[in-house]
């Protein structure tokens, strides 16, 4: 009974305080003490974090090998486009990669394309998620234009992204023995499970007059075509890497890896580069010093600001009540 009344009263006072705009409030003021403490705290947090991040990045071993020019035979280098478009010339090509540091498995294989606008609006929109999931049962593929149908029959998978599928292939040989490349589980699980149909098979694919990129095996359902799935996750930036597979053996220092590759994909007409990347990973992923540098930078600037502020604070002691530089007073003084 009593508690009820009390609760009622409490509610009433709360309402009163609310309407009178006098709710209990926390009113932090940026006193010099707080400011210096916060700056110092930021410095103390970010410098170590940055160093840890940098260390993680340095632990990652990464080998980048650009092959798009080297893989075009000398005589064709003047006109790389016709070379790549000429189906009669064999496109195989060998490259050597030297391991400069011990690489612990798994070693991720990426191909990297530069100046390739996978994030172009026309490109990004040119796909049909419904068709990828349901196959030919789904008819409305207008979004896939201009790679929608061929000979009045629908293309599965339709759209520019699928049509321009990357089709260079790589084989790795170390000391005469082929390195085993695991090409399973390179795509996101949610894509395999929910976006690409288990019973959808490629159909009428790359049958047009103009053939874009790679072909697909019509016997394998889309959900198992991991190269396609990886490719279909459009990249964010015009320079991007995509996962090709994993080498599940360690590579030692000074190992030389011979890469036998099929240089099929045309990046020459738009001046794109192709690179092959072998990289290990840390808890932060691949090699990138930026985050570490940024953290250290932020930490250092915080510390510097703390020191500057402290010095200024000590040097210019002044009562808070000095009003002489209030805007309206300043005006009247000058005028």
């Amino acid at each position: 009974m009593d508690t009820d009344r009390e609760r009622h009263r409490a509610r009433e006072t709360a309402f009163y305080l609310f309407t009178q705009q006098s709710l209990p409030a926390c009113k932090p003021v940026l006193t010099p003490g707080w400011v210096i403490a916060i700056f110092l705290f930021m410095g103390v947090i970010f410098i170590p974090v940055g160093l840890i991040t940098l260390r993680a990045s340095h632990c990652v071993v990464e080998i980048v090998d650009r092959y798009d020019i080297d893989c075009v035979p000398e005589p064709s280098r003047m006109d790389k486009v016709s070379y790549i478009q000429d189906d009669s010339i064999p496109k195989n090509c060998s490259h050597f990669m030297k391991v400069h540091k011990y690489m612990k498995a798994p070693i991720y294989i990426y191909y990297q394309l530069d100046n390739y606008y996978q994030n172009h609006r026309r490109y990004v929109k040119s796909r049909s998620d419904k068709q990828l999931l349901d196959g030919q049962k789904y008819h409305d593929t207008s979004s896939c234009q201009p790679v929608e149908s061929n000979n009045n029959r629908p293309i599965v998978p339709c759209g520019l992204i699928a049509w321009s599928l990357f089709n260079d292939t790589f084989e790795f040989i170390r000391e005469g023995a082929e390195l085993k490349v695991n090409r399973k589980n390179i795509a996101w699980k949610s894509d395999r499970g929910h976006k690409f149909g288990k019973n959808v098979y490629p159909f009428n694919f790359q049958n047009g007059t103009l053939i874009g990129g790679g072909k697909l095996n019509p016997e394998i359902p889309l959900s198992d075509q991991e190269d396609l799935i990886v490719w279909m996750r459009t990249s964010a930036l015009p320079s991007f890497r995509k996962l090709y597979g994993r080498i599940e053996e360690d590579l030692d220092v000074d190992d030389v890896v011979v890469v036998n590759l099929m240089n099929n994909y045309n990046t020459y007409s738009f001046g794109g580069k192709k690179k092959l990347v072998l990289s290990t990973s840390s808890w932060l992923g691949g090699k990138n010093d930026f985050l570490g540098h940024a953290c250290v930078f932020v930490g250092c600037s915080s510390l510097t600001l703390a020191i500057i502020f402290m010095l200024l604070h000590v040097k210019y002691r002044r009562p808070y009540g000095d009003m002489s530089y209030l805007p309206w007073n300043r005006k009247s003084f000058s005028g």
């Binding site: 974090v49 995509k242 990289s279 691949g286 502020f309």
Partner: protein, 1195 residues
């Protein structure tokens, strides 16, 4: 009933007025012609002729919309706003392939925003509708035939109906008065709702119909009224009544207007002539001018700036896009073959790259639309409504005695309240209560009365404060007076020497007796005896007079009856100690006029002696005294000066005995003058009166306090400290106005006064002659000259930093407001510490307001309570109505209504300051968050070859403004407080922040926009550099478009919300809930949206659960970006707070140091910031203590 009726006294008995006789005047010949075609068949509204006329019903609609017009009309209103129209275009375009995002995600926010605004409109209109329903369903008795009157709804009234309106009921339509409960067929009408005047107006029916007293007499009543067509003129009416085959002219005297009220009359019968929208009051109602605050106007400009920015970005984008697209085909060969430039739609066609670029421009316009906050207008509206609720709810502005809270009638102007530069105040009813209190008197050279005025109270209170140095006098007395509150209205006199019959013991008891007698007799008040309570109350034309009669009553001379020829009163006879009945024959009343400045009565007392009793202003009275009657003149003059300085209204009281012969002569002349019908009638009367009002014998003087409202001097002082200029515009006499100026400390002794009042004898003479234009020219020349002189005085006193006051009278004002003079006049007025305009008409008040508003460009606030202030209230940037006694007219046309002047202090210093701060920071923040968001989208375009691909998922885009960032802004707009209300009032100079517009200067706005760009830059480049192309998790997965989008969006939500947390300094649980809730909500949304079928969630499918959350980089990056984006602002605000604090920040310092309770310290802070307070009692006190110090030094 008849007996009861007789008992009352009527004004009609004292004021001569012709009874029911009227003549056809010139304009009656117009009846029947164009504009005068209305024909009303009284008591027969259903007859054939009437049905042909088909006048409208009495249904009145005040709503803006009807059910049918609501949608089209309100939609139209909505899309008239440029921003909304732009979003509409975007929404339409989003259905075309141009759209960078899905149409539904774009349309939904627009629908939400427009829906919310329309919902608000609908609710407001529904309220009006309910009022209409109540009004239209009121009942009135209507004649149903056979002499039966039955209750009928107002809306069912028809032209020609006979209605019976009873006491204290409103008239349902415009009526012609036929008869009333009085024999003379008169009735009293209160027109408060029309013109704000509370005094009763007398109406009288035609003699021909005045005998229709009973219900049954209307059984066979038939008459035809022909009159003018409906028009808006309240004070004119032309018509004729055909009754029993005779024509009678009708005048406004017979017209009863809708919305006025029947008073003091039991019932009336009337014929309906105008119904519904034809009635004069509704014809008169104009749409109040819609006002917008300065901040909002500036906000529009910012929106235009952003539009310009938007177009600029779009142009840049489309140019680059056009170039890139053109290069897709090089000599017929495809470069970016994966885009299939050979087989493309117009939007990407390399061969028509220019067209594609132009179309891309439209896409970009849509994509960057996030630069312009779609929810800005609706958020501001919501915030303002909530702010108004807080204003309405504030108990400190609730007037308990009248049960009246403050009421913000329009919520548009809340923030304008924080920027008021000049207050233009009415006097009567605003500064004063409009009630006079008899407080002091000087009789026979002795000053009586220890009553204390509001000014003295304020001064005394000030002296008690520890800072005062010379607290010497009267402190004890103050305490005493607080206990003895005046119990009688209009009487605040305390002096045991006179009260309770003690005056008889005074040395000059004979003079005192005459003095009191004069107070009881010399007036035109009418007594109303309440027999049950045995008390008499008085109804007088002016409240001064009522105060005199009350004073006389309280001191033993109780006036209780008046007839045409006789004044009766009880006199306390001190010898017998009993009440004795006296009655004097009233012979003449020489009425008060502004030129005479006095009034007299001539009476014959019971002994048959003729007495002339006279009271008047000191300026005219002293020169009329007899040589022998100047016994106390010197002392009285001294007292009068003293009273006047205390802000009291003084009158000199004198009398003389007249011999029969003289009276007979006078009466002859006077009667003759009165019966004159010529232009100089007034003059003749004056002359006659002047002849007899001479050789007076001085009795003494009275001092009446025009009672200031509670706390007015204190409030004015605070407002003056806040740097607000206060002008008083009053219709009162100059003397009264000056008195009040003293009372409110707007004027003080030692202040130089520039009086512009060129009433020189030459001009008067010119005026008397027929040459009006010469008089006007001379007048104007003299005004000009006085203004020039004033300016000279002003510049000389500016050097000595002395305060100058300007006092202008209405007539001079007419000339001063002429186009060629007004700039000069304004310059002078602005230089003066206080300005008082007296005798100004409502129109002049409005003109002065407009002058100040338009010429200085500063924000003006007008405050008033009467119908005469309406123009001023509507003209000013903000009109504040006092919901006092003088009707509702001012309140109805005001923007904010308060019950007492003193609430203005809290309204401006607290709510005004808060609202100003809230709205301005809210708008700045709004633009900040949208710039920050919009620029990340733009930056991304650089990396997507300007193709229009958004980095974020469609729904992330569209919900940004509506969900993730809007609630904290609203919390900011509604709840933020830089300084608590107590400190706002303690440090009035804080208000200067609003006047100087410190918080919403262009510099500050641009700084916020820059901060937005900076945040966007840091967010975008940190994100893309950190997530460039390497794996972002242990598992080697790389970043796709959707992951970068989600990460960047997370950063934006964090940064924007934390920026808000950083920029406010007031956290209640509401802020915590909204800010942190906004962030948590983003994650919840991300999870929930990601869990939906990929059909709907598309690229956001499982992006958080599967990709982002397990990645350390994602979290670390969020933290880093957050800190890095906020660091510049934090450093800036820390340095500013420490080294260049704004005033509110200083107060925050003081508060956090716990020094607010140290009065010495606070005083110093206040003093230093007071640039130059020149009015108010603080200034007055300062001036006084300064001069006393100087005096002490001299000794």
């Amino acid at each position: 009933m008849v007996g009861g009726r007789r008992k009352k006294q009527h004004f009609s008995r004292i004021h001569a007025f012709t009874c029911g006789k009227a003549y056809f005047r010139g304009d009656h010949s117009l009846i029947g012609g164009p504009g005068f075609s209305r024909v009303v068949y009284c008591n027969d509204p259903e007859c054939f002729e009437a049905s042909l006329l088909n006048y409208g019903g009495n249904y009145v609609r005040s709503t803006k919309y009807t059910l049918a017009t609501f949608f089209p009309k309100s939609l139209f209103e909505q899309f008239r706003r440029v921003a909304n129209f732009y979003f509409l275009i975007c929404a339409i375009l989003s259905f075309t392939p141009l759209s960078p995002y899905s149409s539904i995600s774009n349309v939904l926010p627009l629908v939400v925003v427009i829906g919310a605004t329309m919902g608000k409109e609908a609710v407001e209109d529904w309220k009006r509708k309910k009022q209409d329903i109540e009004m239209n369903n009121r009942k009135v008795k209507v004649h149903q035939g056979d002499g039966r009157f039955e209750h009928t709804k107002w809306m069912d009234l028809k032209v020609g109906d006979i209605v019976k309106v009873e006491k204290d009921e409103f008239f349902p339509a415009d009526l012609i008065l036929l008869s009333s409960s009085y024999e003379e067929a008169i009735c009293y009408v209160e027109t408060m709702n029309l013109d704000g005047e509370t005094n009763l107006k007398l109406k009288q029916a035609l003699e021909a119909t005045s005998s229709l007293h009973e219900d049954s007499s209307f059984q066979n009543f038939k008459a035809v009224i022909r009159c003018e067509d409906p028009n808006a003129n309240l004070y004119s009416f032309v018509g004729s009544l055909e009754f029993r085959k005779e024509q009678y002219p009708l005048s406004p005297q017979q017209l009863l207007l809708r919305d006025s009220k029947l008073r003091n009359t039991d019932y009336i019968f009337g014929a309906v002539i105008f119904t519904g929208h034809d009635t004069k009051v509704i014809q008169n109602s104009t749409e109040p001018p819609s006002k917008r605050s300065k901040i909002e106007r500036r906000m529009d400009k910012i929106v235009y700036v952003l539009f310009a920015l938007l177009v600029l970005l779009s142009v840049i984008g489309s140019i680059f896009f056009g170039i890139a697209t053109r290069e897709d085909l090089e000599n017929g060969k495809m470069t970016r073959w994966y885009l299939r430039p050979d087989e493309t739609t117009i939007y990407y066609d390399p061969e028509r790259a220019t067209v594609a670029a132009i179309l891309q421009f439209l896409t970009a316009l849509m994509l960057y639309s996030y630069l312009i906050p779609i929810s800005l207008y609706v958020s501001i509206e919501v915030v303002k409504v909530l702010q108004s609720i807080f204003i309405n709810q504030d108990l400190h502005m609730y007037y308990e005695e009248a049960d009246k809270p403050a009421r913000a009638r329009t919520s548009n102007l809340n923030e304008e309240l924080g920027q008021v530069d000049t207050i233009l105040s009415d006097k009567t009813g605003t500064l004063t209560c409009n009630s006079m209190e008899f407080i002091k008197c000087s009789v026979a050279g002795t000053s009586y009365g220890r009553g204390i005025t509001e000014v003295e109270k304020a001064l005394a209170w000030r002296k008690v404060s520890p800072l005062a140095q010379d607290v010497t006098e009267e402190e004890g007395q103050v305490e005493e007076f607080k206990k003895e509150k005046p119990s009688v209205k209009g009487f605040n006199f305390l002096d045991e020497r006179i009260m309770n019959g003690n005056w008889i013991k005074e040395p000059r008891a004979d003079v005192i007796q005459k003095f009191l007698l004069l107070l009881a007799v010399c007036h035109t008040a009418i007594p109303e005896v309440d027999e049950e309570a045995g008390r008499t109350s008085y109804e007088a034309e002016s409240p001064d007079e009522a105060a005199f009669v009350v004073a006389a009553r309280e001191l033993g001379f109780e006036f209780y009856e008046r007839t045409q020829t006789r004044i009766s009163f009880y006199e306390f006879d001190p010898l017998s100690g009993k009440k004795v009945e006296r009655s004097y024959n009233l012979l003449n009343i020489l009425e008060f006029s502004s030129s005479r400045k006095r009034m007299s009565v001539i009476v014959r007392n019971e002994e048959g002696k003729l007495l002339l009793l006279c009271k008047g202003a000191d300026s005219v009275m002293f020169e009329r005294l007899a040589k022998s009657g100047q016994e106390f003149a010197e002392l009285t003059k001294e007292h009068i000066a003293e009273y006047a300085d205390a802000g009291l209204r003084t009158l000199v009281i004198a009398y003389r005995e007249i011999d029969e012969q003289e009276y007979v002569e006078f009466n002859e002349q006077f009667t003759e003058a009165k019966n004159l019908v010529s232009a100089d009638r007034e003059e003749m009367i004056e002359e006659a009166a002047g002849k007899i009002e001479r050789d007076l014998i001085l009795l003494g003087a009275t001092a009446v306090e025009d009672k200031l409202q509670n706390g007015v001097p204190d409030c004015i002082d605070k407002l003056a400290q806040a740097g607000i200029k206060i002008w008083v515009l009053t219709g009162d006499k100059m003397e009264t106005a000056i008195n009040i100026g003293f009372a409110c400390s707007l004027l003080r002794q030692g202040m130089k006064q520039i009086v512009i009042n060129p009433e020189t004898p030459e001009i008067k003479a010119l005026e008397k002659s027929d040459d009006k234009s010469a008089a006007a020219a001379a007048f104007k020349a003299s005004v000009l000259q006085q203004i020039a002189e004033g300016k000279r005085l002003l510049s000389s006193s500016n050097k000595d930093s002395e305060a100058v006051a300007l006092i202008v009278d209405g007539k001079s004002l007419t000339y001063a407001l002429e186009d060629d003079v007004k700039d000069n006049f304004l310059e002078l007025a602005i230089g003066c510490a206080s300005v008082i305009c007296c005798r100004s008409s409502p129109k002049q008040k409005a003109l002065v307001t407009r002058l100040v508003k338009s010429k200085t460009g500063s924000t003006t606030l007008a405050i008033g309570d009467g119908a005469n202030d309406v123009g001023m209230l509507q003209e000013a940037d903000i009109g504040v109505g006092i919901s006092g006694v003088e009707g509702m007219q001012a309140v109805m046309s005001s923007d904010i209504a308060i019950a007492q002047f003193r609430f203005l202090e809290r309204l401006l210093l607290v709510h005004g300051h808060w609202c100003y701060r809230r709205i301005s920071s809210m708008i700045c923040y709004f633009f900040y968050k949208n710039i920050a968001f919009g620029f990340t989208i733009f930056f991304y375009e650089i990396y997507a070859s300007f193709s229009g691909q958004a980095v974020y998922n469609d729904w992330f885009l569209s919900l940004y403004n509506v969900f993730f960032t809007s609630l904290p802004v609203i919390a900011l707009g509604v709840f933020d407080q830089d300084v608590s209300s107590r400190l706002c009032l303690k440090f009035p100079p804080l208000y200067q922040e609003g006047i100087q517009n410190v918080l919403f200067s262009w510099l500050r706005i641009l700084a916020w926009l820059f901060n937005g760009v900076l945040s966007a830059t840091i967010i975008f480049f940190f994100c893309i550099r950190a997530m460039q192309h390497q794996a972002f998790r242990k598992g080697g997965e790389v970043v796709g478009l959707e992951i970068l989008g989600a990460t960047m969006y997370t950063c934006v939500v964090w940064v924007v919300n934390c920026q808000m947390a950083l920029s406010i300094s007031y956290f209640t649980y509401i802020q915590h809930l909204f800010i942190w809730g906004g962030i948590v909500f983003w994650y919840i949304f991300l999870i929930a949206y990601g869990a939906i079928d990929p059909d709907i969630s598309t690229s956001a499918y499982q992006v958080f659960i599967e990709a982002c959350a397990p990645s350390g980089l994602y979290w670390l990056l969020t933290l880093l970006v957050l800190i890095a984006s906020l660091l510049p602002y934090f450093a800036y605000s820390a340095i500013q707070m420490r080294f260049f604090p704004l005033y509110h920040q200083m107060i925050q310092w003081i508060r956090s140091d716990g020094q607010t309770d140290d009065p010495e310290y606070c005083h110093i802070v206040r003093q230093r910031s007071l640039s130059h307070t020149t009015v108010g009692y603080t200034a007055r006190f300062e001036a006084k203590s300064k001069s006393s110090k100087e005096r002490a030094r001299d000794h």
